[in-house]
Symmetry: C2
Subunit: 216 residues, 2 copies
Amino acid sequence: MALRLYTYWRSSAAYRVRIALAVKGLAYESMPQHLLRDGGEQRRPEYLALNPQGLVPALEHDGHVVTQSLAICEYLEETHPQPPLLPADPRDRAAVRAMALAVACDVHPLNNLRVLQYLRGELGQGDERVAQWMRHWIERGFVALEQLIGRHSVDGRHCFGSMVTLADVFLVPQVYNARRAQLDLVPYPRLAAVVQHLESLPAFAAARPEAQPDAE
Amino acid sequence: MALRLYTYWRSSAAYRVRIALAVKGLAYESMPQHLLRDGGEQRRPEYLALNPQGLVPALEHDGHVVTQSLAICEYLEETHPQPPLLPADPRDRAAVRAMALAVACDVHPLNNLRVLQYLRGELGQGDERVAQWMRHWIERGFVALEQLIGRHSVDGRHCFGSMVTLADVFLVPQVYNARRAQLDLVPYPRLAAVVQHLESLPAFAAARPEAQPDAE
C-alpha cells in the first residue's frame, strides 16, 4: 500500500491528516505544496487535476485520490480501523464528529489563508481588524468546545472519553492557529489541559508543522 | 422512537437534516428556533444547554442530543441505514463526503447569518460588498463541485453515481442560498441539472424552507 499526502507544513487541515496517519502508524510520502509561492502551488493545473478545489490536503492511496481532511480521516478509519479514532456507539461517534465539525465548519473556514487574503485585499482590512476577526471566531468555537469537553471527557486529557479521537485530531491544529493569532487559552482550562496532554504524544509531535520536511 | 429537530426554516444546515430525515422516511417533531427574533432564540440559555454552540440544527433522539448537521446525518445513517445516503465502498464514501464537505466547510461557513452580520456590523461593509463576498465563495465552491459532479455522477441527476447521497443532501440547500444571493447557475450546467432533478423528489420538496411550519 502506497500513501502520498499532498500537504503544506502550516496548513491546519493537512496537520489533522498527518496526526491521523501517525496515530494509525501509517507511513506516507510527503508531497509539499507551497501555498504562498508563485500565487500558490495548489492552484497549478497538475494539482487541480488531483483536487479541483485547489486546497490541501489530498491523500493518494494506490493511485486513488481522496480530498477534504474529514473525508480522508473517515476513509482512513474505514480502511485502517486500528487504532480507532471514533468510538463504537453511534451516539458517541456523533459527539466526537460534532466536536471535530465545530472546528472544521465553524472556526477554521473563517481563518484560513484564502479568507484572510480576501479580508486584506478585496475588503481592505488592516492587520488589527484581521486579527480581531480571527480571534472572534476562534473564541466563539473554543467557548463551546470548552463546554463540550467538560461534558464528554472522562480523563481530562482527551476531548471525548479517555481515548484519542477525531475531536482531538481536529482540536490540536486549531490551537496551533490560535497561538499564531496570539489567543490566550486561559479562559479554556479544560481545552488547554487536553491539548497539553495530546501534544506530549509521539503521533501528535511527529505531525506538528515544525517537524515537516517543508517547514521554513 | 421520538425524534425532535431544532430547526429554522431558512437555515441551510437544518435544511440538510430535514432532507436526510425525509429520504429515510423518519417522522419528527419540529422545534423552530427563530434565528433573528430577540437577538436569536438559539442563544437562549435553554437552547445553549442543548447545544453550547448556539447553532441550529440539533436533533433530539429519545432524549439524546446530536448537533452539527453532518454528524446528525452520519448518525442517522448509522442508526437507520435504509435507504443509504452513503455508498458501500470506502473510496466512494470518501468521494461523497468530500463533496458534502466542500459545501459544509468551504462555502456555507462563509455566508451564514452570523458571518454576514459581522461583515455588516464590525467591519462596516455595505450590501454590495456583502453580496460580492457571498457570491465569491459560492462560485469558488461551485466551480469545483461542477467538476466533481462530472467526475462522479453516472446519470447526470445525482452528484455521485445514480443514487441520492449526502452530497445531494448538502448541495440543494446551498443552491437555495445561492439563489438568495442572485447567483447565476448557468456556468454550472451539471450542478444545475442535478439540483433540478433532486428538487422534483418528494423528500427534497418536503424539506424545503417554504414548506416548513415556521416559514414566513
